[in-house]
C-alpha cells in the first residue's frame, strides 16, 4: 500500500543548518520528501514539505516534534490528499510593483480572480528602503479568459500608481 502524504509546516527564526537538520531527521525516520517550498520571510525560515511517511499523523508528530523543538522551530503536520506529478502549466506571468501600501495584494489578486485567473504561484517581497518601501510581486497561473481581460482588470491598480506587466508564458517543449 502506498504511504500517506503529509504536509509538514515548519517555521522559526532563521539560522544556518535548519534545512539540513530537519530533513536529516525526516530521512532518519524513513520519510520520503516530495515537493517543497522553503524560503526566508522577514527573518524567519519557513518550510512546507510534502512528506511521505509510513505511519499516522500522531506518530509523525511524535518523532519530528523533539527535533523541531530543539531547533526552536514550530511544526505543524496535516494529512493531505495529494500526489506528485500534479503540476499545471502556467500560461501567464503578472509582475507587479509599487510604493508599498496596505491592500496591494488584495486589490490586484481580487481584480485578477474576477478576470478568470487561477493562481498557481505567487511570491512577493518588500524591497526599497525602510523610508520608501517597494512592494514587488510575481504571480503565475492560468488565464481562463485570456491576457487582455487580465490587463483590463488591472487598469484601476495602474491608475493608482502600481506598475503591472502581464506577459504570456510560452513554454518551449524541445
Amino acid at each position: 500500500m502506498e504511504q500517506q502524504w503529509y504536509m509538514l509546516t515548519v517555521i522559526g527564526k532563521d539560522k544556518p543548518g535548519l534545512v539540513a537538520k530537519v530533513t536529516a531527521a525526516l530521512f532518519g525516520i524513513g520519510c520520503n520528501l516530495g515537493e517543497t517550498s522553503m524560503i526566508r520571510l522577514g527573518g524567519n525560515f519557513t518550510m512546507m514539505l510534502m512528506v511521505q511517511y509510513d505511519g499516522n499523523i500522531a506518530e509523525l508528530n511524535t518523532v519530528i516534534t523533539p527535533v523541531t523543538n530543539e531547533l526552536l522551530l514550530r511544526c505543524h503536520v496535516d494529512a493531505i490528499d495529494g500526489q506528485l506529478h500534479d503540476h499545471r502549466a502556467s500560461d501567464v506571468r503578472i509582475s507587479v510593483y509599487g510604493a508599498d501600501r496596505t491592500g496591494i495584494v488584495s486589490q490586484v489578486t481580487n481584480a485578477l480572480a474576477q478576470a478568470g485567473l487561477d493562481i498557481f504561484d505567487l511570491i512577493s517581497d518588500v524591497g526599497g528602503t525602510p523610508q520608501h518601501p517597494v512592494y514587488i510581486m510575481h504571480i503565475e497561473g492560468h488565464a481562463a479568459q485570456g491576457l487582455e481581460v487580465l490587463q483590463n482588470a488591472l487598469c484601476t491598480s495602474i491608475e493608482q500608481g502600481i506598475e503591472v506587466h502581464v506577459a504570456p508564458i510560452d513554454t518551449i517543449i524541445g
Partner: protein, 166 residues
C-alpha cells in the same frame, strides 16, 4: 516511419556529446523522418535533437510554425548546426520531452545567426529570433550533452521591462 524511444533523465546518455554527420544519404533522411514523427508525437513538441533518441549525430529539428504571430522558418532540419552570433538576452520558460513534468526559466539569446546543413548536404544560414531562436538554442544544447536543467534560473526572480530608459 517509426516512433523512436525518447531518453528521459536521469539517463546518462543525455549528457553525451554528439558527433558531426558525415554521410548525407538515404539512411540519414529516413532517420530524420522518424525523428520528426517522434517530435510531433510529443505533446506540444516544437523541437527535438537526435541525441534525445540515443542517436549521437548532430541533427536537430525545430518547427515552431504552430505558434501564432511569430517569425519562423517553418520546419527546420539542422544538421551540424553552428550558432555563429548571439544577440540580446531574454528569460523564457522551457520544458523538454526528456525531462517530463517539469518546466523552468532559462536565459537565452534573443536572436541568433546560425549555419547548418540541410538533409541533402547543402549549407544554409539563418537568422532566427524569439521563440524559434530559443527552441534552436535548446536543441543545439542537446548535441553538447546540455539539458535546460543545466541552465535553469530561479523562478523567484523576474525581469521587469522598463518603460523608460532616460
Amino acid at each position: 516511419m517509426a516512433l523512436l524511444n525518447v531518453l528521459v533523465v536521469p539517463d546518462e546518455r543525455l549528457k553525451q556529446v554528439s558527433q558531426p554527420v558525415e554521410q548525407f544519404d538515404s539512411s540519414l533522411r529516413d532517420f530524420i523522418q522518424d525523428l520528426e514523427q517522434t517530435m510531433r508525437a510529443g505533446p506540444g513538441g516544437v523541437g527535438i535533437a537526435a541525441a534525445q533518441v540515443a542517436h549521437f549525430e548532430r541533427i536537430v529539428i525545430v518547427d515552431v510554425s504552430s505558434k501564432p504571430n511569430i517569425k519562423h522558418h517553418g520546419c527546420l532540419v539542422l544538421i551540424n548546426p553552428e550558432i555563429t552570433q548571439w544577440e540580446g538576452m531574454v528569460q523564457g520558460r522551457e520544458g523538454c520531452m526528456s525531462v517530463p513534468d517539469y518546466t523552468g526559466n532559462v536565459i537565452r539569446a534573443k536572436s541568433i545567426q546560425l549555419t547548418a546543413y540541410d538533409k541533402f548536404g547543402a549549407k544554409q544560414s539563418y537568422h532566427c529570433e524569439g521563440y524559434e531562436a530559443r527552441a534552436i538554442q535548446h536543441e543545439v544544447d542537446h548535441l553538447d550533452g546540455t539539458l535546460f536543467l543545466d541552465r535553469v534560473v530561479s523562478r523567484r526572480t523576474d525581469i521587469f521591462k522598463r518603460k523608460h530608459y532616460q
